[in-house]
Homo-oligomer: 449 residues x 2
Amino acid sequence: MSELGLGDHLIVDLYEVTMLEAYLARGMNELASFELFVRRLPETRRFLLAAGLEQALSFLESFRLSPDELADLSRVHPLSPPVARRLSDLRFSGDVDAVPEGTVMFAGEPIIRVTARLSEAQIVETRLLNIIHFQTLIASKAARAVLAAAGRPLIDFGLRRAHGGEAGVLAARAAYLAGFAGTSDVRAGADLGIPIFGTMAHSFIQAHDEEAAAFADFASVHGARVALLIDTYDTEAGARKVVELAHSLAGQGAAFRAVRLDSGDLAEHARRVRRILDEGGLRDVQIVASSGLDEHAIAALVASGAPIDRFATGTKVVTSADAPYLDCAYKLVEYAGRPRWKRAEGKQTWPGRKQVWRTRNAAGVLVSDCLAPVSETVKGATPLLEPVMRAGRRLGPRRPLEQIRSAALAEVRGLPEGVRSLEPGPRFPVRVSERLAIRSPDPNQGPRR
Amino acid sequence: MSELGLGDHLIVDLYEVTMLEAYLARGMNELASFELFVRRLPETRRFLLAAGLEQALSFLESFRLSPDELADLSRVHPLSPPVARRLSDLRFSGDVDAVPEGTVMFAGEPIIRVTARLSEAQIVETRLLNIIHFQTLIASKAARAVLAAAGRPLIDFGLRRAHGGEAGVLAARAAYLAGFAGTSDVRAGADLGIPIFGTMAHSFIQAHDEEAAAFADFASVHGARVALLIDTYDTEAGARKVVELAHSLAGQGAAFRAVRLDSGDLAEHARRVRRILDEGGLRDVQIVASSGLDEHAIAALVASGAPIDRFATGTKVVTSADAPYLDCAYKLVEYAGRPRWKRAEGKQTWPGRKQVWRTRNAAGVLVSDCLAPVSETVKGATPLLEPVMRAGRRLGPRRPLEQIRSAALAEVRGLPEGVRSLEPGPRFPVRVSERLAIRSPDPNQGPRR
């Protein structure tokens, strides 16, 4: 299994190293707790879906600067021999508490908490943020597409415009986790067990002198598995060629699995193509739509009653195009047994290690969240963060992706209707425990949200 | 040198494989030409800066499905023995013509043209787009930040919120290529020779009981190289502590290189901090500003006359946040000696292999571009696409990144003032040669832009 760059430990901000040098020189290496959270949701997000923990734990568990990496580092940032030795010995031997992947989360709520010697907890900051941020970003976007599709399967076709190859694979994972049915990305299929889908590009049609010949060639090789792309020249003419081919091949209906529409007015084309297919006896041939789709386009197509059976999304999901980043941070909340916080304008944090307590009603619908110090118990509520790593080792086996996906789907189903809406609206209320507010040394200048 | 996932050949859309199976089965493997171009620029882009060719050529030159990759592929997509054999033997032995990295480009202009046997030219589509798209996206965004900074150095701090680790490294490259001074990303420094920069995080200050002690600790380890982050609690108070520390350490000014501001009204803080530093005799200490900066925020800070010496950008540049993707495509333009094109609504292409001819005035300023068939010569103009690979081997040595960066800076300087503007405006005119228009089989339904 490809490790997707998780084995590269120089993917790190230089300041993690310069801080480490200072910590080692000053003998500062007590226990530190950092919490990773999203400060504010993008305006177009009502909730987040936590994702990336699996890769984050793999990264932590295998953290080790190889001799080559140390040599590379020394070349661009000369290290003193004691620091080089310490870096060479450095492993992650700390504890991690986290919410399970696929958990619905809101602003200010810790997704993951790292408690370790300061050197260990600090050096992993950059990559940990990099891993959790991206998958959480994409899962949160993909969950909206899943809501919009109202039960119709969604496929991820975004690899080509994902931000690099690793982004393509991790986006496929995040989208699947959020409820997608599969991806076009072979690596994601091979490594992560995600169902893969593929049809043909326009180039396949164009390489043939006749569109009908292209369809026939593809069908002769791939048989009933094929989905034919019918919009290269004229969509409805393409549909009629599919009907003719189906008849010439088998004299009956079910020769092809699907046709794909990739341009123009998808609803209108889908209606016309459906009619052509039905009249041609191809009632079982599905219609797949792609072409710049996001949750709003999908919702509009579904609302229009367009006879589209499946949607393929691409760029807009794998780049989370309307909100391509989350305002996330990895903040020191405790060091050497004392709560720590930051007052920088607009970026204040709550001090101390925290737990998120979630309350649901009898029907399982989410009612409220409460952010509290870890020492506090909120009655009638469930704590979200749970131990996942102790002394640098995972607790329990890896969670199968299928299981995370089912849990995520259930989580989103358990959201109040307003929060499931695709439109912006009031924020879900995250209460802050009084004890947490009291812990701020100066309530007048204390953390605000 | 890390190969950044370029050695992973299963980062590919499944349809490249299904098409290949059909091509092989039907014996279709004549010479094909594909062109990679951007259909339309985002509204907030006036020009593109081509980037990623170096990684694209490495990918093509080393293209080879390893036995492990073939086994992985067969597991998720069963292959017939002949197809498996062909895939195992498949190398890229074709030709590539491309514009040099750092060239200014506009919509519709080919950035790279691949001419190879159909199977080879097709199988590389996904990853080639993935590589060229992302770096071109980021270089084009970063070039705007460079314009806005008006000569002040820019540093990339975006790794943590880049879309994966590979994206962080490639974004650092693209930003440097566009004129940035460096990055925080150690891997980008080690592999690509990009200058790396690092200071400290808020956690460093917070881990100390006193901010002044944190400054003193950092200074004692890093000496004059340090840049101190002064906004954790109160920015101006932080600046005064820097002055005190400088005096206590040396009795004179130049103990520190810089202070960093990372929150609040950066212009106002910069003015106050500058005054405090100057009055404290620290005239040589620079002010670095970060915190959600993009080209517009930088331009506003520069216009306000804020005494900021350097800017650090992050998320908004490495995700190209206002336009996180380009509408790019890799389209078949010729197969078996015949021009090919696509008429799908809104996605029409010009048939045949094309060249971009650029005209400049006597002062070297870009005047117009003309898109023409490769057979045509446009008088007084310079062709942009040049041979870079023949029969699968690079022509000439790798171009040093420094040289690409200088060329890119000169390219942007050579843009008409309007095109260098950060605001949206009229599109730079790309003329289409008459001969190209005539080649469309049916001018009434022919390609339009």
